[in-house]
Symmetry: C2
Subunit: 83 residues, 2 copies
């Protein structure tokens, strides 16, 4: 059976943010679970962030950036609203 498509991203900004997290996580060779453990966030939440389904807060942006060993500014730079 095909995998259900799932919920769409909230916005192009959350989609791009999530893609950056996923790309950097893969670069470090981390699973979602390993990243979640380091951030002290739930792995299902990390999955939702990577799919752009969360309007993530500043504190969680920082936690994820620290776990990914990058500046939080790099996850956010260039993002624009879609209105």
């Amino acid at each position: 059976m095909p995998r259900p498509a799932g919920k769409p991203p909230l916005s192009s900004a959350t989609a791009e943010f999530g893609a950056r997290v996923r790309r950097r996580r893969a670069q470090l060779g981390l699973s979602q679970e390993a990243l979640a453990d380091t951030c002290e966030l739930h792995w299902t939440y990390i999955g939702q962030v990577e799919r752009g389904q969360r309007n993530i807060s500043l504190h969680n942006i920082i936690r994820i950036a620290e776990a990914l060993q990058i500046d939080p500014g790099r996850l956010v730079q260039g993002l624009a609203s879609t209105t």
Copy 2:
């Protein structure tokens, strides 16, 4: 009568984020009300953000950055968690 001190910032990250918003808003000569109008956010919310009392979401970071005519990455770069 002295002005009450008010609530403390949530964290050093929200405090620094708010200070950057306030500094850039002043640089542009905007009132909190004028910034709030451009962002379509309430001016009391802008005040709370500037005082570091809000764990602001990605969408609102982007709205405020756009109203301040700067990259959202500049508001977030270098911020660190306090744990």
